[in-house]
């Protein structure tokens, strides 16, 4: 499965894009990222109590925001691409 980091997530992970083994769902993916990259990424991905995905994290699965899929329970498979952004804006 393809995993892509953008904006400030690139500074934390030092990675733009990588292929990873398929997690069961989005929550499992984000939890594994928290273990791998530590507190620097956990504070951006999760609420302070660690129980929810932060409102400031934008997670897309194949271009669709998980808020319009099944949220943290959105299932993942080999052909999927997950993109992770901080809250950004412009125009």
């Amino acid at each position: 499965m393809k995993l892509k980091f953008f904006a400030t997530y690139r500074e934390i992970t030092r990675c733009n894009e990588e292929d990873i083994p398929v997690p069961h769902d989005v929550w499992e993916l984000l939890t594994s990222l928290g273990e791998r990259y530590g507190a620097a990424i956990r504070v951006k991905l999760f609420t302070p109590d660690g129980g929810k995905i932060s409102d400031d994290a934008i997670i897309l699965v194949n271009g669709r925001n998980i808020l319009h899929l099944k949220g943290k329970d959105t299932p993942l498979d080999e052909a999927d691409a997950v993109s992770i952004f901080p809250m950004v804006a412009g125009g």
Binding site: K4, F6, A7, T8, R10, N16, D55, D56, I58, L60, N62, G63, R64, N65, L67, H68, S83, F85, P86, M87, V88, A89, G90, G91
Partner: protein, 600 residues
Amino acid sequence: MNAWVGTILRVDLAAKTVVKEPLNIKDAHDYVGARGLGTKYFCDEVDPKVEPLSAGNKLIYMTGPLTGTAATSGGRFEVVAKSPLTGTIGAANSGGYFGPELKYAGYDGIIFENASESPVYLYIKDDVVELRDASALWGKSVFETTDLLKEECGSSFKISCIGVPAENGCLFSGVLNDKHRAAGRGGLGAVMGSKKLKAVAVRGTGAVTVARPEKFLDALTNARKTLKAHPVGGSGLAALGTQVLVNIINESGALPTRNWRDGAYFPEANETGGESLAEKYLVKNKGCFACSIDCARVTRVPDGPFKSSGEGPEYEAGWAYGADCGVSDLAAICKANFLCNEHGIDPITMGATIACAMELYEMGAIPESDIGFPLRFGDPHAIVKLTEAVGRFEGFGKILALGSYRLAEKYGHPELSMSVKKQEMPAYDGRAIQGMALEYATSNRGACHVRGYLTSPEILGVPIKVDPFVTEGKAGLLKLFQDLTALIDSTGICLFTTFGLGLQEIAAQYREAVGTDETDDEILLKGERVWNLEKHFNIAAGVEKDTLPPRLLREKLPGGPAAGKVAELYVMLDEYYKVRGWDSDGVPTPEKNVELGIDA
């Protein structure tokens, strides 16, 4: 005087007279300022059928009540005229330092009437206001003009001016100030050029006072804290600039590619995004007057064929020269954007017009002999060469200077102009973001992203997240965003403050500055009044109906998350007219006019 300085300059360019008249304070109350008040003056004084490049059109500079105060990003002013590109009301605002300086000189706005026979500029130093000969400036770029006027008038003067394309009637030439800040869209520079008005140079040593200073300080302190704490308004925009949008819009399958012909996913987008810009070419951030966001980029391409330096590109410009032209060379995109500032042209329309020409060339509709070289998608040298051609107003550049609609019409394919009311759509595909489709179709100045900006809730989740594929509810949401952006533009603060602030914080600053006890809803109603006034002007001017290019309505997106979708405009448009209180043809009803106090 309650955030205003109380005087409007009325300049007759034919008679060479300058009259100082009192600000119409009732209209300032009803239409807020800047965009709203400038439009009110304009609509009261100008025949909607006026030919935009004739002497009968007027050109208005108007500040807002918060311009020049300590309000969050309170440095903006509006330029208003009938647009020669669209035939609609033309209103474009700009940041930098010019607007506050005008108020410090003692003037809330300037109304330019008629046309001069020879080039002139307006000199303002506090009470001294005079038209001066600008023959030596005619034919000079924005940068040259700014430098020469600072040399002549003094380095502390703030300069607003036009470049060579505007002198020659380029329909997307802007009015630039502080070199890099632009009232960019709609070709208002061409109106200024048609009046032989090259520039305004202003220096003011006065001040702006607010009605309730202590409460104003409380309101702005609260607003600044709220903005600073927001992940976007606080540090996000400063870190990576507006170009950071490239990747999220592309990953969402909404980045229009190759004149919107090849869908809305550009595989090389990452090479052109804010991350790459910061890594390769960013020198430092820069902010406008009283701004804590600092979104502007000072950038430099240090070597290679596109060696250059300047500011930007911003997201829309980066897209127009990038994905829309199929170009992935960020150095070329930077240089083309720098040229737009130097020559005073709108990079959105410029890039989109080149993209349209590329499609027309590739399908054989434009002969190579007209252009002078093969014009294929993806050619980084072409975007620079053609921007230079428009900047010097020579060769094929003279045709491109009319914008994509007139270009595509000339070569027999007007349907390939990706424009609404002849103004090019910016960088969000309405097939993948349905609310943006409705926004483009209903914008009062032709296609525009800052007349509402539904991308914010549909993609970015600010202030709430809604599904970009859904049409239900978008009409009501768009009306709210349109009214709010009309209000914000009219106050004189920057729209980007809404990446952190809401109506509550903005209305509080306005209330204490002007000394009113109106509620938030009563203040928001003024934004709706502005929107409806603009609509009335457009109807009287005979502007075409609200629609989209056939490509968006009929050609399905070929891939990405929105594969198979078209813009479902007509599902949303009827509901939009209803929530606006307009009839089924999009005309405000008598009841709505009474509610808003508009004489129609």
